[in-house]
Symmetry: C2
Subunit: 360 residues, 2 copies
């Protein structure tokens, strides 16, 4: 049950360097079939959104260098739907810019902003949650987010604290909390009214633009001044000239943390941000020895708990290795302990320093 007032912005400009050597500057994570399902993450995300949102209303926010990848992987997308940042900025400028473009096209639009590289298993629960949030945004001047029910005291995510007294499904947000230390995170979980911030936002274009106008007047002025050009041939010139002037600020900080009309719907679907090889391992089915295998055929002995991936269904023989990340790419072979996965960014830096930038 698509609705012509429903819109989406897919954030597809990041790199995901903890997934090196698969995810690289030239070919980031969201354009890979990380789970071996046959779809890349952005294809999967796009399809999931079309349950609710007409495909011509789904915009892709990305960088110039990924333009070709977007059109290759989403051939149903037209040039109009791909919004390119001419300069690297945090999320606020591009979201405001896209919201203004959408508003000019449809002033009744409600929209979702969503990462293109996360994994959501239960698509119908996702669709139901987004649909409920959209309806709320249509009827209220609200900035909404989908919060993830935390399963353990993760110190790598931001948290959303909601008002415990409300009995409705959609809760008023008390405050956003930065990545906590372990004790604080444990305390959050015990309190029960904390959710993980997955970077999924929903609002009407009217509400989000008003929030920018109130909280980020300078940024608002900058992008509002180009309104006449949006969706016309002169848009490119305006953006090329003005985009780099925008403050480098996240949408969380720019409006969510400043506003009093922020609400959260605790998600009823499973969610995995596929942030590291370990979280991908957790998500995947395992063989009898507990190895997660993507695009490979394995012969293992005394080898369990490994994340094994090759490019072309290579035969991988592993003996006596436990809890490793084993990733074989055209130009790089990584054999690295899962427990040290947070160091992969450092390893990547070392490889680039030693062997050249193009390895990243």
């Amino acid at each position: 049950m698509q609705n012509k007032d429903y819109y989406a912005i897919l954030m597809a400009g990041g790199v995901g360097s903890r997934f090196w050597p698969v995810s690289t500057q030239d070919f980031p994570k969201q354009f890979h079939d990380m789970l071996g399902t046959g779809d890349t993450l952005i294809q999967k995300t796009f399809k999931r959104l079309t349950n609710l949102i007409p495909k011509e209303n789904i915009f892709i926010l990305t960088n110039e260098r990924y333009n070709d990848l977007v059109f290759q992987q989403l051939p149903e997308v037209s040039k109009r739907q791909v919004v390119l940042e001419p300069a690297m900025r945090n999320t606020a400028p591009c979201i405001l810019y896209a919201a203004l473009k959408i508003q000019k096209e449809n002033e009744n639009a409600v929209m979702i902003v969503a990462p293109s590289d996360h994994w959501i298993e239960d698509e119908s629960a996702f669709t139901k949650n987004v649909s409920d949030a959209f309806e709320f945004c249509k009827q209220n001047n609200a900035l909404m987010t989908l919060g993830i029910q935390p399963t353990f005291p993760n110190t790598g995510y931001g948290y959303i604290e909601y008002d415990n007294n409300e009995t409705t499904a959609i809760k008023k947000v008390n405050q956003f909390r930065e990545k906590p230390d372990y004790e604080t995170a444990k305390n959050f979980i015990e309190q029960g009214n904390f959710l993980w911030n997955a970077g999924i936002f929903m609002w009407s274009v009217r509400s989000v633009i008003e929030a920018f106008q109130n909280n980020q007047p300078e940024l608002y002025q900058l992008f509002e001044s180009g309104y006449d050009s949006y969706n016309t041939p002169s848009e490119d010139a305006f953006i090329k000239e003005n985009y780099a002037k925008a403050e480098n600020i996240s949408v969380d900080y720019a409006i969510m943390e400043q506003s009093t009309n922020v609400h959260v719907l605790p998600a009823t679907f499973d969610w995995n941000d596929l942030g590291t090889w370990g979280s991908l391992y957790d998500k995947l089915d395992k063989d009898n020895d507990g190895n997660a295998v993507v695009n490979a055929r394995t012969l293992t002995e005394d080898a369990g708990g490994n994340m094994i991936r090759t490019k072309n269904n290579k035969v991988v023989v592993v003996d006596g290795i436990e809890d490793y990340i084993i990733v074989d790419e055209d130009e790089v072979l990584l054999i690295f302990p899962k427990t040290k996965e947070q160091d992969i960014k450092k390893v990547l830096q070392n490889v680039k320093d030693k062997f050249g930038e193009h390895y990243g």
Copy 2:
């Protein structure tokens, strides 16, 4: 100082399956640059022999399926020099056959039979040893072998026991001894007059043919009956019809162990049969952490004692792995403990059973 009476037969029909996944049925060890020197083992062996032997006198004994590889890797070799076995037989039949062909071409010929997949570092010592042996074979009716000074009680080689009383460099052989158990091997080393049998033989064509005539009359009859056809257009037809009738017997057993005129020259050069990944590791230079690296660039941490090889100078990141064989080929990645290298044949069989014969 080449001599037109000097000939060689390079044995190039084997597979070396303990070097899987580099060495395969379709592309065996001798056709690989195992040490990353720029030359394959057969190229290296061929060059080594040309210090003494005219290149047109070096014959390659191999199978039909390696015909193309031989001509690719040794473009200076003519069709006349490639002797193909139409059926899989042990060494005696093909050596007798080749000796008869050479005799017909040059009845004064002395020849060396040598594996094409061993490693000899000191080429001038090798040349000197072979030259001395050749001169001995010219002047005496003798079957000669080069024996390797043993460095430890290896149970994987056969041994040659020589007469301790002789003071000449070239010794009379008492007997050949099969692969011994460890205690026996230790005892051999203590006695001091035992050498490793490296499968390197030298003799005049006259002496070797006489030895076959005396000790293997049936085999001799079979190949002698084709003498008129050798080195003529009718040779092919004769060999195709008769080769498969030959007994499946090794040259060691057929003549060396039966004859009384067997001599050995203790080699003065370093020798390595490159029989396993471990022996290749021993031979290679190591990086600061004790890793032997061929065709790869490495970034290692807490990783030493590894044998690391890729196809195209891949970047290999290894963390926390000690004493492993890490070999990356187009269709196979092997991560296997060096201590279990003798099991690689079994692993190969398992891979073929599970994923198909073509992986071997």
